[in-house]
């Protein structure tokens, strides 16, 4: 019997969506392990965790560590605090979401706890007294099954993969000490653009490629993304050409995304791009070349001139949403 510690993330005092996924996954794992779920919240002093609804996704307890240095992600502080809580005992697993912060945090926690680590997993389970994990490797070309052989394992979960359900637990909030010793200082966080939705967090992504012929035409993509309430993504070619920032790049050397809907416009579908988006629930492709590889992974495809199709799609989506 062992418990699961779910490390959550907040931004500006609000719980990040991925944290609900982590707590939910922790709930499933704890049930398999015969244990409870503690959700760890790290934030500025007075961070109001009771409003996070963590009990609703399965947290038995909510442990809050507040410190001025925790308002933003602080690598050593978060790792030190999580490790201290985990060391206090009784845990079989520590779960983290593989966000930008989580990818940085999970290895640090694992090293401090001398625990085995599985990262960016799409499945986590408990079998024969050990934590097991499923994860994509080789740019999504293969799936690995792992067994972590230790009393305590650290696992980071791929965002947008563990859709949370409801599991009403108490979620009683209590304070834990913040471990603040730090070797680095996060000086500031520069926001990208006003309310620009990050491609890795969005449920809808509209991506543009070379077919758009020039940076000025990306306005078409932006309008469609807006109509769909989604984020703008980009292929490597247009990022390398300087049309779009690297933060928007979807693909092997960019971001891996798993949205509900991915619309690929003027993108041929090179292996490296597919690696970043082929686990999307629904893929739509728009391309003038009917032999483009993207059509092999698309659920729905339209062949033709994107300069005619995309505005029409934006129009029809707006109509559908309004009506």
């Amino acid at each position: 019997m062992a418990n699961v510690l779910a490390v959550t993330e907040q931004r500006g005092g609000a719980l990040r969506k991925t944290s609900r996924e982590v707590v939910w996954a922790a709930r499933q794992l704890a049930d398999a392990m015969g244990g409870t779920v503690d959700a760890l919240v790290l934030g500025a002093p007075g961070v109001e965790a009771t409003g996070f609804g963590l009990g609703g996704v399965g947290a038995d307890r909510v442990l809050v560590a507040g410190d001025a240095s925790f308002a933003n992600y602080s690598p050593c502080g978060y790792a030190g605090t999580a490790a201290a809580v985990a060391k206090a005992g009784g845990y079989g697993a520590v779960l983290v979401s593989a966000t930008a912060a989580g990818r940085d945090l999970a290895p640090r926690i694992a090293a401090r706890l001398d625990a085995p680590l599985a990262t960016d997993v799409t499945g986590v389970a408990f079998a024969d007294g050990k934590v097991t994990a499923t994860r994509p490797v080789y740019a999504g070309k293969a799936i690995q099954q792992l067994t972590l052989d230790a009393p305590l394992a650290v696992v980071s979960l791929r965002p947008n993969t563990f859709a949370p359900g409801a599991a009403a637990k108490v979620g009683a909030v209590s304070q834990v000490p913040a471990v603040t010793a730090s070797r680095v200082t996060v000086r500031e966080v520069k926001a990208a653009g006003q309310g620009k939705l990050d491609v890795a967090e969005a449920t809808v992504v509209v991506s543009g490629g070379r077919g758009l012929k020039g940076p000025e035409h990306f306005a078409l993509i932006e309008k469609l993304a807006q109509a769909l309430g989604g984020a703008v993504g980009a292929s490597r070619a247009v990022v390398d050409a300087g049309w779009r920032p690297h933060a928007e790049q979807v693909g092997q050397t960019g971001k891996t995304v798993s949205p509900q809907l991915y619309v690929a416009v003027g993108i041929s579908g090179a292996i490296q791009h597919l690696a970043g988006m082929k686990t999307a629930k629904v893929i739509v492709a728009i391309n003038k070349d009917k032999d483009a590889p993207i059509f092999q992974v698309a659920d729905y495809g339209i062949v033709g001139d994107l300069f005619e199709i995309v505005p029409r799609l934006t129009e029809e989506v707006a109509k559908a949403r309004a009506g």
């Binding site: 090293a111 067994t147 990208a192 033709g304």
Partner: protein, 250 residues
């Protein structure tokens, strides 16, 4: 300036993956191996920092099989000074085991910087760099896209969702490189020839027990075949209808 760069020999990303006989690793025959693309940014950064400092040493380390010497040689051809191969027939799936072996080699090395690529494109763990930092007790910033160093102090930037984090630290430090940190140089042909004479020390990797094991490696589930709905903008209403009623994502 004394800089260590840890690199990894990985299958080229264009390679078609086939499972090996034991279904726990890929079939390596016919696979082209290259230096992990993110590690190239780390090597380039090390070379630039050495140049800016007006001198120093760049040492390239790799944990892997004998064939990784060729990978190290590639970094020497770019301009690194010497290489160290920690020999292991197979790189364990246990990132912490790898980190411990690297940390044992790096300990007491008097490094100003220890650089990594942010992740390897084969196992995509994003872990060894920060783990080594923890084991060595050094400050660490991961996935950096910008770096400034001055007077034994550094400021790095890393992309996060919706923005950029600016992080300050003192040297010595461990940094892992994101794409775009710099533009890696091609090895000059002269550099390729010079690399032949640069030393590569080979020793067995001090690998402890691996607590992460791969029990199976398989192909991902096939996506159900989709369909091309038609040509031109007139098909759009049908697409929207299907996205609503069939796919239920609208």
């Amino acid at each position: 300036m004394k800089i260590a760069v840890c690199i990894k020999r990985v299958p080229d990303t264009e390679t078609r993956i086939r499972m090996g006989a034991d279904a726990a690793a890929i079939d390596e025959s016919g696979v082209k191996f290259v230096v992990n693309p993110y590690d190239e940014f780390a090597v380039e950064e090390a070379l630039q920092r050495r140049e800016k400092a007006g001198g120093g040493e760049v040492v390239v380390l790799a944990l892997g099989p004998d064939a990784a010497q060729e990978t190290i040689r590639g970094a020497l051809a770019m301009g690194a000074d010497r290489g160290v191969l920690l020999k292991a027939d197979r790189v364990p799936a246990d990132a912490l085991a790898v980190a411990k072996a690297l940390a044992a080699e790096l300990k007491d090395g008097g490094w100003d910087l220890v650089l990594f690529g942010k992740m390897a494109v084969d196992d995509c763990n994003h872990a060894v760099g920060p783990m080594v930092a923890e084991l060595l007790g050094l400050p660490c910033v991961t996935a950096i896209s910008k770096l400034e160093l001055e007077d034994g102090k550094g400021v790095a930037e890393r992309e996060i969702e919706g923005g950029v984090e600016v992080v300050a630290f003192a040297l010595p430090a461990v940094l892992t490189a994101e794409k775009g940190l710099n533009t890696p140089r091609y090895p000059a042909l002269k550099g390729i020839m010079a690399a032949k004479k640069k030393p590569i020390e080979s020793k067995p990797a001090a690998l402890g027990e691996a607590r992460v094991t791969v029990t199976a490696l398989g192909l991902p589930p096939e996506r159900k075949a989709g369909r091309i709905l038609g040509e031109g903008a007139d098909v759009v209403p049908e697409l929207v209808r299907l996205l609503r009623t069939e796919a239920k994502v609208l």
